[in-house]
Symmetry: none
Subunit: 183 residues, 4 copies
Amino acid sequence: MARASTRARVHAAVLSLAAESGFGGLTMEGIAARAGAGKQTLYRTWSSPAAVLLDALLEQSLDAAGEVAVPDTGDLRADLETLVRGMIAELADPATDRLLRAVTAELQTDPAIGAEVLDRLLGPQLRAIADRLARAAVACPEDGAELLLGPVFHRWLLRTRPFTEDWPSAHVARVLRAVSSGG
Amino acid sequence: MARASTRARVHAAVLSLAAESGFGGLTMEGIAARAGAGKQTLYRTWSSPAAVLLDALLEQSLDAAGEVAVPDTGDLRADLETLVRGMIAELADPATDRLLRAVTAELQTDPAIGAEVLDRLLGPQLRAIADRLARAAVACPEDGAELLLGPVFHRWLLRTRPFTEDWPSAHVARVLRAVSSGG
Amino acid sequence: MARASTRARVHAAVLSLAAESGFGGLTMEGIAARAGAGKQTLYRTWSSPAAVLLDALLEQSLDAAGEVAVPDTGDLRADLETLVRGMIAELADPATDRLLRAVTAELQTDPAIGAEVLDRLLGPQLRAIADRLARAAVACPEDGAELLLGPVFHRWLLRTRPFTEDWPSAHVARVLRAVSSGG
Amino acid sequence: MARASTRARVHAAVLSLAAESGFGGLTMEGIAARAGAGKQTLYRTWSSPAAVLLDALLEQSLDAAGEVAVPDTGDLRADLETLVRGMIAELADPATDRLLRAVTAELQTDPAIGAEVLDRLLGPQLRAIADRLARAAVACPEDGAELLLGPVFHRWLLRTRPFTEDWPSAHVARVLRAVSSGG
DNA sequence: TGTTAAGCGAGACGGTACGTCAAGTCTTTAC
DNA sequence: GTAAAGACTTGACGTACCGTCTCGCTTAACA
């Protein structure tokens, strides 16, 4: 397995390269050169630039962002709205936008990446939201979480239309109605 | 502009190549060779393999599949469930799966592709669903359509969990509750 | 086939590199870089650094040295001795020595190189000597030529012992006796 | 210096590898792996795969094959013809052919290899033939041995033309004439 | 109808990156 | 405390495509 110092240099290299030239510019060759590492060293551990980047991101932000922070003030409606508005704001940041789009694209092709993203990013996020819903006595918290996030991703990923200022509150209202008692 | 016969040969070539080796295996060089065309001829008209493929697909299926068929039996709940089950079945087909994933991935990178897909595939689909909802006197049909499709795409694209047999009906029930009177 | 200007640049590159760093330092990559050519351009025409070098050498010296000059003063013994002394002198030159050794080594491995060398260097040389012998009414000129050159190469290639000043005349005498009347 | 058991394992490894994949396939890495030794252990004692192989060969066959057996029935002509035919037969064996070509090629590059080969293979061979000639009262036995072997090697190494059935006897006749009384 | 420019096939070209291999050096582990 | 195991940097390998660029050869439209 790779030595710790090697991993660190590679992580630094991939992050700096991604920051400079975007995800599309990442190549194994370039990462190796920037890291002062041999290509074989990279291939020994990672299978593609996306895998390197993902690993770097996860290592970097594991504890901090790994714990997807779902607010819990007791007011479910307000909490979900805060969450949705936060996500939209994050997606509006060009850096995050480019990065998440790249990961999503890669994820379509490489199932291994997909599994890792699910394990360490999406899964926790969905679970955290589901937990918040469960704490509010919602009947089907997993489906509720999906109902909350699905349209956000759909609109963002497929660029169907921009987010408007008042959409989040209306969206949360619909989601809450969807999972309310009658369900 | 390319001659009609050239276009036709290129379209045939890209479709057969995509069918054989998947989207990832498409290259301008390969398409040109299969089509018996020069590379320059391709570059004169299209900028990437994705553009060629998309053009071929749209030309092939524009009128037929372009008209997204949303059933309208009068029973909204049943119609939407039929629609959702149909989509899920389509996504389960390996060929469709690969193709749509590839287009989605490409769409993250190339805004021109994105615009074309939105114009000619997603837009009509969303509008057709919204129309169906509007005909059932739903208040916010666009948001309803998004609420219906978003979770399906979310689960499929991000591979969070498989679709189960009874999920569609529960999902449709939630969506209908979401857009009911209060919305 | 390669364009003339490309060939010329590649030939110049390989000759200058060989002069600077010796044959062992030749790589396809290095030649391509020096020539300002793509690697594929090299591989399209030549299969190895040795092939490039050989081609350059042959093109360079084709007419001049291609015509292996066997002296013909009428005095066969003197002519052959001149020839042998000339060869020994040439082999004593470090540049020629290194180059011919390299070609000989490569020739063991790559049959295509061998065929080319035979066609354009060794064949003509042997034939020229055989012709000279034939003109002197020697019965088996090809075998005579081999008898003349074989021991020279043997001693030089295998470094069995150095050439001495009086060896050529004794050697030629033996060869002439070998192919005389009885042969 | 390497331990005896290590040397033995390395020798076995290099011989088996050479037998399987030919000389060209030998690498320090492969030998080390096959021998169950570290690469460093190899480099400590040998400088190249050729050195390892040569060492193994010489250790294996020193006394046995080192004594080049030149027949001595009293009939010099017949003995030399037997010898030549034997050499040609040996060179016709693909395994011997490959091995000797490889050693010859290596010998052009690495003078140390050359010296060792001369000392322990070629030298004894030439000396044995010279001795046989001397025993037949030939005046210049070393030159005679060279005259006998030179053309064989020349034709084989440079692949000028194949050996024919009746060439050995004619060749021996010429060599004997060359070194006869007149010389 | 005969000319002439365009579109075209073919593919060489300078490049970049690929993923692999082996070289030779180094560190770590374990006997 | 020596050597195995093997990670490391380096650099060449040969291949695949990239996008650009000549080359003739069609071929359709205009003179």
